[in-house]
């Protein structure tokens, strides 16, 4: 079980291959359907295509790294679930629908990239595969001899049942899409797979609910008002989009302000240039490697940025700001002063707790069973590494040697192992360093 939780798999390539094969297969099967399409159907498909492409350009960043395109996902879901105008007795199969979705997402992403936005193909690939689940489930898989699309017509008297079925299909689709997106991201960040998926689902459940219901709304209303359903019923989602975007903006601002707070010690000449930023980068990489969730990662990030804040109250700077060299009592006082300043905000209590415990040696956990936050252990190791290895990491080997001497006594072995993995990956990313 533990091994399963630590499982790290890079699924970026498989997901990309899946996306490519989904596109190719659906294009192949769609050829047969194209002849049956009437002008009205073309118009509908074209408008859905437009909505998906436009929606793809309206990206939303939820919680630092999660990029989503809500309008695009909802429009794709709406298309997958709606009957579309067809001559009686015929219906559109999944292939044409999937081709439309793929084309929309591809065009939208291309436009974004041409505009110079830094969007990865990986996320789009994951979304394409995820979006293909709904048409297959709704228009292809038979349930007691009929597809759900066929059942929809039989249940005309009880359309609320249709609504519930649509919501269920949408939920399955979102779950698949979110898992794939999380897998792609976990591959990129070298984070364990399962915690990443669980965290993704937890963090975006709210937004996913809005997407699923909007998709069902479009499909249900299409019955009554035709294609006008698309713009009309995207409207509540657009409100949601703006609300979430405001939230995302203020989060960015918040991170910038914490950054300013963190650079105080540097401006005052207490710590070396970029020390806090480097410790933060290392800490977050280690936290990801250990499979921490986004909420905990944010707390870890803030705490790492602010870990030296207590030094502003010092009358004279510590040589080079390296707290690892300071006497334990001084280290603790600095940690305490910093925690006090952070606690005075009244909103960062968790960060203050992490700061307070950042100097506590690991043996307190082993010998006295003290409850030491994982974030504090990570910051302790990352800070020691940065102080000992120097700004350019020139003394990396010596720093790791010193840290290994304190293994189990000062430092948590699990964290040190993670740091070793992070450093290995960094070395691989920058192959030759000038010697």
């Amino acid at each position: 079980m533990r091994a399963l939780r630590r499982l790290t798999l890079d699924l970026r390539l498989p997901v990309a291959l899946m996306a490519a094969s989904v596109a190719a297969l659906s294009a192949w099967f769609a050829r047969a359907d194209v002849g049956k399409l009437t002008g009205t159907t073309w118009l509908h498909l074209g408008l859905f295509f437009l909505a998906i492409a436009l929606g793809e350009t309206a990206r939303l960043t939820v919680l630092t790294s999660r990029e989503t395109a809500p309008m695009s996902t909802a429009a794709a879901l709406g298309l997958s679930l709606s009957a579309l105008p067809m001559p009686a007795g015929t219906s559109i199969g999944p292939a044409v629908v999937i081709v439309t979705i793929c084309a929309g997402m591809l065009v939208g992403t291309t436009v974004l990239r041409l505009g110079g936005a830094a969007v990865g193909w990986g996320d789009t690939a994951a979304r394409v595969v995820g979006a293909a689940v709904a048409p297959v489930l709704y228009r292809y898989v038979p349930f007691q001899g009929h597809t759900l699309l066929a059942w929809q017509i039989r249940w005309d008297e009880h359309r609320w049942i249709v609504g519930i079925v649509m919501v269920l299909v949408g939920a399955v689709t979102m779950l698949a899409a979110l898992s794939l997106e999380a897998a792609v991201r976990a591959g990129r960040d070298h984070a364990p797979l399962l915690p990443a998926v669980a965290d993704e689902v937890r963090a975006t459940a709210w937004l996913a609910t809005a997407l699923v219901t909007s998709g069902a709304l479009i499909a249900l209303a299409e019955f009554a008002v035709g294609i006008a359903a698309l713009p009309l019923f995207l409207f509540p989602l657009i409100l949601t989009y703006f609300a979430v975007r405001r939230f995302a903006t203020i989060r960015t601002t918040y991170r910038q302000t914490i950054g300013a707070l963190s650079s105080l010690t540097e401006r005052a000449g207490y710590t070396g240039p970029d020390h806090a930023e480097r410790v933060t980068r290392t800490s977050v990489a280690v936290g990801r490697d250990l499979g921490m969730g986004q909420r905990d990662l944010t707390d870890l990030e803030y705490a790492a940025l602010l870990h030296d804040l207590g030094q502003v109250a010092l009358r004279d700077p510590i040589p080079h700001g390296a707290t690892v060299m300071a006497a334990p009592a001084d280290q603790q006082r600095i940690a305490h002063d910093g925690a006090e300043i952070v606690r005075s905000t009244g909103v960062l209590d968790k960060v203050a707790t992490i700061l307070e415990a950042q100097t506590t040696p690991y043996r307190q956990v082993r010998e006295f069973g003290q409850d030491l936050p994982m974030a504090s252990r990570i910051i302790k190791v990352a800070n020691a590494y940065d102080d000992l290895s120097g700004p350019d990491g020139e003394n990396e080997a010596r720093a790791m040697e010193r840290i290994h001497l304190g293994l189990g006594y000062e430092y948590d072995p699990e964290v040190v192992d993670a740091l070793t993995r992070v450093l290995q990956r960094r070395r691989r990313a920058t192959p030759t360093s000038p010697t």
């Binding site: 219901t213 009309l232 609300a243 939230f247 601002t253 000449g269």
Partner: protein, 485 residues
């Protein structure tokens, strides 16, 4: 709709007088008369099951309505439910939905407040539904099919119903505020209309969607779940936004606290300058956003002091020229510090130029007159006024009148006369107490003149060589002079 809840919490309204009670009863009577009249005119509600569902929705939305986010963003779903009720269950049904939504409420609420809400919402809902019928709305959207037909025979009448609701809401609230608090009614009505108007337009669109899904699309009660889910997510995101905004505000404050730990004798100065700057901006009739930016600039104006060695902030002797220049560098040092924060873009000028002088002899850029950004001219006055009314080791705190006199004498030389005038108006309107400090704190503050003293500004004005010693651009982090043992 929520404006009412806000006001109640603000305590500005006292529902005590007999006039208030009479008004509340009158509003209630009007509501019940409207429902009764509609019953006689249009008959009982058509669909009792739908009415039950709508009532449950109404009660839920009313309970979840507290979403005051500070940035004047409010979402109220009760209006949407009442609009949908106008079509689905007719005027009497809508009135019942309005009354039931507000009468059931967990937690304690004053009986007069609840009675008023019940009356007001009954009026709003019934009037809205009547307007829907009078403007050609088809009851229960019967026989209406197709997008265009729906828009003309349901959508447009719903928009009128929505306007009627918005107007009734504003008038009823203004009425009760007039009776209970003496707030001029016409002004209040306009204010409410302008703040709630845009939201009401959104409500009408969503109410329309609700109806379309319920009747022509045959989805029935389940449409409530589908239509309201994205809105609840929006509401949740707005709530999160509000929390984060407050958290950010408090973190900015922590930034100031952290810097003030370097010179404890100046603790509270930033907060006071922020307050005074805000009052000045208000007195000058600036907009909401500008006032906030100016307040923030006042709060952060001395943040660059973090780059000044502590021993210069608590000096044991007179400062040398070189040391004065190091301290004067805090203006640009502060800019360096906050430049990366997008949110503070409007406040940066105030931090950079709060030691400029109106006659052009200030620092760091020697700007004069209107070339100095307004925010900096405001913070400059607030900064010196607070410095004067604060006790120092070398003099007691000035009274507000004395300090005002000193500031007035410097209008046209150090300060913008227009803002000096504004300060005068502010002091008439607000109380300003001088800041006294313990002997211990004063002793730790050292003996040299504080950098905010007018004399120090004059010294810089008379010594071009000192100003020349300052960096004029923003190159790199401030390096402390000495400071190591």
């Amino acid at each position: 709709v929520n404006a009412q809840a806000r006001r109640r919490e603000g305590g500005s309204v006292r529902y005590t007088s007999i006039a208030t009670i009479l008004t509340v009863l009158a509003v209630d009577a009007t509501g019940f008369a409207l429902v009764g009249g509609s019953w006689l005119w249009a008959g009982p509600p058509r669909d009792w099951f739908a009415l039950g569902v709508l009532c449950v929705l109404g009660v839920t939305s009313w309970m979840l309505r507290e979403t005051d986010v500070g940035a004047r963003v409010q979402l109220s779903f009760t209006s949407i439910i009442m609009l949908a009720a106008a079509v689905i269950v007719g005027p009497v049904g809508a009135g019942i939905v309005g009354a039931v939504s507000t009468v059931i409420h967990l937690g304690n609420e004053k009986i007069t407040v609840r009675l008023f809400n019940v009356g007001m919402f009954t009026c709003i809902a019934t009037l809205g539904a009547l307007v829907y019928t009078w403007t050609g709305g088809v009851a229960h959207a019967q026989g209406v099919t197709g997008a265009a037909d729906l828009l003309v025979r349901v959508g447009v009448p719903l928009l009128f119903a929505d306007l009627a609701q918005c107007l009734t809401n504003a008038v009823a609230l203004a009425l009760i505020l007039r009776v209970a608090g003496g707030v001029p009614m016409r002004m209040q009505t306009w204010k409410l209309l302008s703040t709630t108007g845009p939201a009401y337009v959104g409500y009408s669109v969503i109410g329309f969607l609700f109806v379309v899904l319920w009747i022509p699309a045959h989805v029935g009660w389940f449409s409530a779940v589908l239509v309201l889910a994205p809105l609840f997510v929006a509401r949740w995101a707005f709530g999160q936004y509000g929390d984060e905004l407050r958290a950010h505000d408090r973190t900015l404050r922590a930034l100031v606290t952290a810097v003030e730990t370097k010179d404890p004798h100046n603790a509270g100065h930033s907060e006071r300058v922020a307050q005074l700057s805000e009052w000045l901006a208000e007195a000058l009739g600036l907009g909401h956003k500008e006032i906030q930016e100016i307040r923030t600039a006042g709060m952060l104006h001395d943040i660059g002091k973090v780059g000044v060695p502590t021993r210069l902030l608590r000096p044991r002797r007179e400062l040398t020229d070189e040391e004065l220049v190091v301290i004067a560098d805090h203006a640009l040092g502060g800019v360096d510090l906050v430049r990366g924060i997008d949110f503070l873009a409007g406040s940066v000028d105030g931090i950079a130029h709060h030691h400029e002088r109106f006659d052009g002899l200030g620092y760091p850029s020697a700007l004069s007159g209107a070339d100095i950004p307004l925010v900096a001219r405001i913070v400059a006055v607030a900064d010196v006024f607070d410095a004067l009314t604060t006790a120092r080791s070398y003099r007691p705190a000035c009274h507000a009148e004395e300090a005002m006199e000193q500031v007035r004498q410097r209008g046209g030389t150090q300060f913008d006369p227009q803002i000096v005038e504004a300060l005068n108006r502010v002091l008439v309107r607000h109380e300003w107490a001088p800041t006294d400090r313990s002997a211990e704190l004063l002793a730790s503050a050292g003996v040299a003149l504080d950098h905010d003293e007018p004399e120090v500004s004059d010294l810089f004005a008379h010594r071009p060589d000192l100003r020349g010693g300052l960096r004029l651009t923003l190159p790199h982090p401030v390096q402390p002079v000495g400071g190591r043992p």
